[in-house]
Symmetry: C2
Subunit: 171 residues, 2 copies
Amino acid sequence: MTDAASNGAEEDETITYRAIGTLHSPHGSTTGMPIQPTGARGINGHITIFPEFAAGLKDLDGFSHVIILYHLHRVHGHDLLVKPFLDTQTHGIFSTRSPKRPNPIGLSVLELRGVQGARVLLSNVDILDGTPVLDIKPYVPGFDVWPAERTGWFEGKVENATTCKADDRFA
Amino acid sequence: MTDAASNGAEEDETITYRAIGTLHSPHGSTTGMPIQPTGARGINGHITIFPEFAAGLKDLDGFSHVIILYHLHRVHGHDLLVKPFLDTQTHGIFSTRSPKRPNPIGLSVLELRGVQGARVLLSNVDILDGTPVLDIKPYVPGFDVWPAERTGWFEGKVENATTCKADDRFA
């Protein structure tokens, strides 16, 4: 018995979620869209939260930034080794932010412009129009900012995300 | 037709994931465990990645910190209004980091101690033993660190997470 089997998750276990709302953005196609919020500065979008979840937005408007978790719904299948947009070398999927992941969950830290009823107004949006949103968490630097000493293959390449656009390699 | 219905996610859509591995930690019970990595400094744990996904770990060892997304498997049901561990007031679930969320996905930025085969060695672990892991992403400050001007009700309370322990309120 492996330690994975002895306690907790099983390989064949399925985990089922439902969208809490839909993200709307000017990005109608993966090709040509920004690959990170740093490449999407000033691009506005919003989440329409489904009515049954809207009460959960109370006090969110006190935050300047939020973490959005979303389902990368246009991704089908996954690759364990990928050539990410920012490099010409192949890396393991878990050392990249590429979308074609075993569980295609996207994560973006976005600027919160406000909350209007069930509508969450965002900026720096690097997310495809129509994307199902899984969760909204407040961004709290005291929890989420750490002094990373090493950023692996990203070193010297992070700045390129401000101009690099996606192509269709993960479609 | 609402704009949510016209494009993208439907309210009744289900999204299915599978664990990529299991997290092992000294935290055998939610009661008394740290509520954030800032309260778990020096506490080691590891993820055992299922063999079929292990190739995706290539080059992860170049990073000092990783973002772990995980399924809060002991949480059943959700609350839209919660009294979080760090406050005596009630807040909307999406303005808190409380676990009893519509989609119980946990997020922790952890220190990476190394990768040994299919085992990912971590520190500052605030995650329950046996937790199914959904995704590992490299922590890249150039993408993940933003100058948050406002942190809502957390202001003046973030430091308390270094000592505050969980109780059974979300069990």
